[in-house]
């Protein structure tokens, strides 16, 4: 009882209020600090609007932290300022994926290969939201598709699982067929 009397309740309330306000401000500052995002790191070292196959992930070559060495990657940082992008990728087997990411890391589109058949992805990325023709990350992810998404900036990732030395040439040749190119609107 004596302890309760000695507590300065006004100070305690000030402490809690300041801690909560600082916590919220610090969290939203971190959300809006885009300097260290995957997009910022990739856009600094890779050409824009071109699909680039990067070398195997190893101790010397890791473009991003925690980038899994279980795959070979092709990246395409894009900017659809006044034109549309055309993306093409083949997903021949289980483990192959293609994803489109916003600069903040939000997954705008994702497709994974089926174990039953080769999947061909044909995708258009357009700049304006009002031309959005419908597709979300929760949309069906199968089939040979010709789809459109809206994104002013971001990056495309084609991921080919590393199945070991005997398959590397084959993996490389399929990965080389992936492309992203500007399409005049």
């Amino acid at each position: 009882m004596n302890l309760f009397k000695r507590i300065d309740w006004r100070l305690l309330v000030i402490f809690v209020l300041v801690a909560v306000i600082v916590h919220i401000v610090a969290t939203f500052l971190a959300v809006n600090d885009q300097r260290g995002t995957a997009y910022a790191r990739l856009a600094n070292v890779l050409p824009h609007n071109t699909m680039t196959i990067v070398g195997p992930v190893d101790t010397q070559q890791a473009l991003l932290p925690y980038l899994s060495p279980d795959a070979r990657y092709a990246f395409c940082p894009f900017d659809t300022a006044d034109r549309a992008m055309r993306v093409h990728a083949l997903l021949p087997d289980l483990g192959w994926t293609v994803g489109v990411y916003a600069p903040d890391g939000t997954n705008l589109y994702f497709a994974a290969a089926s174990s039953e058949r080769e999947t061909t992805i044909n995708l258009s990325i357009i700049p304006a939201d009002d031309r959005f023709l419908g597709l979300s990350s929760e949309a069906p992810q199968t089939g040979d598709t010709d789809q459109t998404i809206a994104a002013p900036k971001g990056f495309i990732v084609v991921r080919a699982p590393d199945r070991g030395d005997p398959y590397r040439t084959e993996t490389q040749s399929v990965l080389e067929k992936a492309s992203c190119s500007v399409r005049r609107t």
Binding site: F15, L17, G36, T37, L94, G105, T106, F110, A111, S136
Partner: protein, 218 residues
Amino acid sequence: MASLELKSYERPSALALVRTVAAIIFRAVSLIAAVALATGVGVWSSRYMISRGSPLSVDSYGPWQHWRALGRENADPYSKAHLASTGKLRISADSAGIFEARTDSQGARLHSSCNYKIDGASLPGLWWSLSVFDARGRLIRNDADRYTFTADTIAPNPNGSYVVTLGRDARPGNWIPTGGAGRLVLVFTVLDPANGLSDEQRVERNKRLPVITRESCS
């Protein structure tokens, strides 16, 4: 005739004055200390919840942590800040399960001075990978150039389960060298099939995550 008593003004004693000033200073210092401490607590708790997660944004399955909204458009601020500050490339939780472990299944920190055995159950029809990083997300340099095992490269047991060992010294089987790395982070990725997973299938997948057992430490 009524008498009027007038009290003469007494000057406060020097001691009382000192006490008053000391009380004001004490209150001011208390307020400044409380604000400074609260600022520290606010920043620290924000950073911790962004880097390590909390039940608000992370599901835990034994030692494995799963950011449930990472990569989603409607992700919570902690998940968004986690991606922005770490620079990770993560497939949306709608399309894959990505699990990170910083401790073994008994709760002790993973460290390169120890040997670990990782027992995994078979995941039929799902492509998975298990990779090891140091605490800053870098691969661990080793002469064998071995950093990961996948559903394609693992040598499984006859029943489809598998065992991966982590340690400094070479071992037969699915061994990943971890010598000299300090604290370790394991990342287990399971891709959803092309037609997606139902909620029940996700629950079943999450029950079959690998068990991490510490064997010995040097």
